[in-house]
C-alpha cells in the first residue's frame, strides 16, 4: 500500500496540503518554501542548462537574451507566445486532472495528435455545410472523443486489472503518433497536394483572432479550460472524489467510492482535454496536419504542472513563460544555430531541480519539527 502512495503523482500534492494545514506557518516560511520549491528549481535549471550551452560553445547570455528579446519584448513575438499558450493550457488541464487523481497519463502525445488529425479531417469538409461556429464545435468535440477513446485500454487495464498505467499510456502514445501519421497518409490525405497532409481549413473558418492582433482566441478557451478544471478538482464533490482516489485508493474504496469508475472518468477527462489540445492547434493556428508532424508537447508540460503544484493559476503563469521559451528557441534554432532540442535539456533540468527542491524542502521541514 505504501508503494502506491509514494509512486502516484498525487503524493506530491499531499505534501503541499499537509504544509498548508500545519496552521501557524509564518509568512516568512511560506515565502521560503516558495523560493525552495518553485523559484529555486527554475533558476537552478536555467543555470544547469547554461553550463551545457557553454559546453557546446554557445554564450548562454546571448542565447537567453535572444529568447527574451524575441518572444517577450517584440510585439509579434508576444502575440506568437500568447497563441502558442492555447494547446499547452489544454494539456495542463489534462494533466492537472490526471495527477490530482493519482494517474500518470504519459500518453498525451498520442491523444493530442489523434485529436488534431480528426479535427483536421472533419472541419474542412464541414465548411459550407454547417455554420462556422458549428464546424469548430464539431471539430473540438470529435477531437475530445477520439482522445478519450485512445485512453480506454490503459483505463480499463488500470481500473480492473491493476496494470501500471505509466507503461500502457506510453505504449498507446507511440501507437497513437504512428496511427495519426498513417491516417494522414492513407485516409485523410488531401488529394490536391503532393506532400502528404490533410485538407486545410481556410483561415477565415479557423478560431477568430483577438481584436486587431494575430493572437488566436484558442488562448481564451485554454484559459477557461484550465480554470474550470481547477475549480472542478478543488471546489466540487466530484473533484474531491477524484482526489480521494488519488490520495489513497484503499481508503476511497472503504469510503464507498467506486474507484474503478472514477479511474475511468479520470482517464476519459484527461485524455479528452489532450484531444482538445490537438484540435486547438489545428482549428486555431495550423489549419491542417502534415504527415509526421509531432510537436511532442505532452511530456514537456509535466514539470510545469508539478511546479505549479497542480494549481490552475500557477500553471497558467508557467505556461506563459514556457510558451515564450518555445517561440524564442524556435527562432534561435534558425538564427543562432542552436537546435530546438535544447528545450528538452532545459525541461529535463527543470524536472531534476524540481525534485531536488522538493528534497531540500522536505528535510528542512523535518528539522523544524
Amino acid at each position: 500500500m505504501t508503494m502506491k502512495n509514494k509512486t502516484n503523482p498525487g503524493s506530491v500534492d499531499q505534501g503541499a496540503s499537509a504544509a498548508d494545514a500545519a496552521g501557524p506557518a509564518t509568512e516568512r516560511s511560506a515565502l521560503q518554501r516558495f523560493l525552495t520549491v518553485t523559484i529555486g528549481p527554475i533558476v537552478a535549471a536555467f543555470l544547469l542548462s547554461a553550463i551545457i550551452l557553454m559546453l557546446v560553445g554557445i554564450n548562454p547570455l546571448t542565447y537567453y537574451g535572444y529568447i527574451l528579446e524575441r518572444s517577450l519584448f517584440s510585439g509579434l513575438g508576444l502575440e506568437q507566445t500568447a497563441t502558442r499558450m492555447a494547446p499547452l493550457l489544454f494539456l495542463c488541464a489534462s494533466l492537472i486532472i490526471a495527477f490530482r487523481a493519482g494517474i500518470w497519463n504519459l500518453g498525451t502525445d498520442g491523444q493530442f495528435l489523434l485529436g488534431a488529425v480528426v479535427a483536421a479531417a472533419t472541419a474542412p469538409l464541414l465548411v459550407g455545410v454547417l455554420p462556422g461556429w458549428a464546424v469548430l464545435l464539431v471539430g473540438f468535440s470529435l477531437a475530445a472523443i477520439v482522445g478519450a477513446v485512445w485512453s480506454i485500454i490503459p483505463a480499463l487495464l488500470k481500473a480492473y486489472q491493476g496494470v501500471n498505467e505509466i507503461i500502457t499510456t506510453l505504449m498507446m502514445s507511440f501507437l497513437g503518433v504512428l496511427l495519426a501519421s498513417t491516417l494522414v497518409k492513407l485516409v485523410f490525405r488531401d488529394p490536391a497536394t503532393t506532400v502528404p497532409q490533410t485538407r486545410t481549413l481556410p483561415v477565415a473558418d479557423r478560431l477568430p483572432r483577438l481584436f486587431d492582433t494575430t493572437i488566436s482566441s484558442g488562448l481564451i478557451w485554454g484559459l477557461v479550460a484550465v480554470l474550470l478544471v481547477h475549480l472542478m478538482m478543488t471546489r466540487t464533490s466530484f473533484g474531491l472524489r477524484l482526489r480521494m482516489v488519488g490520495a489513497n485508493p484503499a481508503a476511497a474504496t472503504h469510503a464507498g467510492l467506486s474507484v474503478p469508475l472514477l479511474t475511468l472518468a479520470t482517464f476519459g477527462l484527461s485524455a479528452g482535454f489532450a484531444g482538445l489540445s490537438g484540435a486547438s492547434e489545428i482549428l486555431g493556428v495550423a489549419g491542417n496536419v502534415r504527415a509526421n508532424w509531432n510537436p511532442a508537447y505532452g511530456l514537456m508540460v509535466i514539470p510545469l504542472v508539478f511546479l505549479a503544484r497542480f494549481h490552475g493559476v500557477g500553471a497558467i503563469v508557467l505556461v506563459f513563460f514556457y510558451s515564450a521559451l518555445l517561440i524564442g528557441s524556435e527562432s534561435a534554432a534558425r538564427r543562432l544555430g542552436v537546435p530546438q532540442d535544447f528545450t528538452l535539456v532545459l525541461v529535463a533540468s527543470l524536472l531534476i531541480c524540481l525534485g531536488l527542491g522538493e528534497y531540500i524542502d522536505h528535510h528542512k521541514r523535518k528539522k523544524e519539527r
Binding site: T2, G57, L157, G162, L170, M171, P303, L351, G355, E358
Partner: protein, 311 residues
C-alpha cells in the same frame, strides 16, 4: 506478396529479429535487476540513448567496435549514476526523475550530435562477423543464428548467468529482499541503498550496451532519438517476465520479430507504409498486456524510496 516465403524474406526476418531483439534483451535484463531491487527505472530509455551516442562516438573516433561498446556502457552508466544519486541516495520520485533523465538524454545527445556532425550521419564500417564453418552456411537460419557479432552470444550468456545469480546466490536473494521488503533487509544487516545503487548501475551498463549495439551493429550510425521506445519496451519485458531472465529473452525475440517485419516486408516489396509496420511492436506490447497484464508480478516495494525508520 507472392514473394513472402522466399529464402531472402525468411533470412532477413530471422536476422532482423535477432538484431532488433538484442538491444531490447539487454535493456530488459538490466531493467529486471532494477525492478527486483525495488527501483522502477523509467530513465532506461535515456540510458540507452546515451549509450547509443557514446558508443557510436567512441567507435567512430577509434575505429574499434569493442571500444565503442565500452563507450556505450560508460554512456549508460553516466545517466545511471544520476539516477542512483537522485532516486536511491536522495529518494526523489523515481518517475519524475526517470522522465527527466530520458528527456535530458534525448536533448543532450541531439544537441551534441548537431554540434559534432551538423546534419551528416556518418556510417561505421560493417562489422566482421563470427563465422562458424558448417553452421553459418546452413540455409535461412545459418547466417542469422550463427553469423552474428560476438556480443549477441555474450548477451545470451548473460541470460544464463543472471538466472543463476538470482536463484543460487546470496546477491540474488539480497536483490529480491531490497525490492520485496527493504526494511527486513535493513534489519538483517543488509545494505538496502547499496544494493539498489548496484542494481541501477547495472541497468545503466546493460542499457548503454544495448544502445551501443543498436547504433553500431543494428544501424551502423547514430541518429538523434534513435531508440524510439526500445527502452520502454525493455520495461514491459521486465514487468512481464516476473523476475525470470529466460522470459525476457523469449519476450525480446517476439518483439524483435515484430520489429524486423518492417525490414523484411520491405525486402518482400510490400507497399504497406512503414508507419503501420512500426506500430507492430507497440501493438504487440499492448496485446500482451491486455492478455497477461494481470499476471505481471512486481516487487511490493517497487517505486518507493527507502528511508530508514520511515513508516
Amino acid at each position: 506478396m507472392d514473394g513472402l516465403l522466399t529464402e531472402a524474406f525468411l533470412s532477413s526476418l530471422f536476422t532482423g529479429a535477432i538484431v532488433a531483439a538484442v538491444p531490447m534483451l539487454l535493456a530488459g535484463l538490466g531493467e529486471q535487476m532494477s525492478e527486483k531491487a525495488g527501483v522502477l527505472n523509467i530513465g532506461i530509455e535515456g540510458m540507452m540513448l546515451m549509450g547509443a551516442y557514446m558508443g557510436f562516438l567512441v567507435a567512430f573516433k577509434t575505429d574499434s567496435l569493442w571500444l565503442g561498446f565500452v563507450g556505450g556502457i560508460l554512456g549508460g552508466l553516466m545517466v545511471a549514476i544520476a539516477m542512483a544519486v537522485l532516486c536511491v541516495r536522495l529518494g526523489l520520485n523515481q518517475i519524475v526523475i526517470g522522465i527527466g533523465l530520458t528527456l535530458g538524454a534525448e536533448g543532450l545527445t541531439a544537441l551534441l550530435h548537431h554540434f559534432q556532425f551538423s546534419r551528416t550521419y556518418p556510417r561505421l564500417p560493417v562489422p566482421e562477423r563470427l563465422n562458424i564453418p558448417g553452421l553459418t552456411d546452413l540455409p535461412v537460419i545459418g547466417p542469422s543464428l550463427f553469423g552474428r557479432h560476438l556480443i549477441v552470444y555474450l548477451a545470451l550468456l548473460a541470460v544464463i548467468i543472471l538466472a543463476l545469480l538470482y536463484r543460487r546466490t546470496n546477491l540474488g536473494m539480497t536483490l529480491r529482499a531490497a525490492g520485496e521488503s527493504p526494511a527486513a533487509l535493513d534489519v538483517a544487516g543488509g545494505n538496502v541503498l547499496g544494493i539498489r545503487v548496484f542494481a541501477v548501475l547495472f541497468t545503466g551498463a546493460m542499457a548503454g550496451l544495448g544502445g551501443a549495439y543498436l547504433a553500431n551493429i543494428g544501424a551502423g550510425l547514430f541518429v538523434p532519438f534513435m531508440t524510439g521506445g526500445a527502452g520502454f519496451i525493455g520495461i514491459v519485458l521486465a514487468m512481464l517476465a516476473r523476475g525470470r531472465p529466460f522470459w525476457v529473452l523469449i519476450g525480446s525475440l517476439i518483439f524483435g520479430a515484430a520489429l524486423s517485419l518492417t525490414t523484411a516486408l520491405q525486402v518482400a516489396g510490400s507497399n504497406i507504409p512503414t508507419d503501420v509496420i512500426q506500430m507492430l511492436p507497440f501493438a504487440a506490447v499492448m496485446l500482451v498486456l491486455v492478455l497477461f497484464g494481470r499476471r505481471a508480478k512486481l516487487p511490493s516495494a517497487l517505486g518507493a524510496a527507502y528511508e530508514r525508520g520511515a513508516r
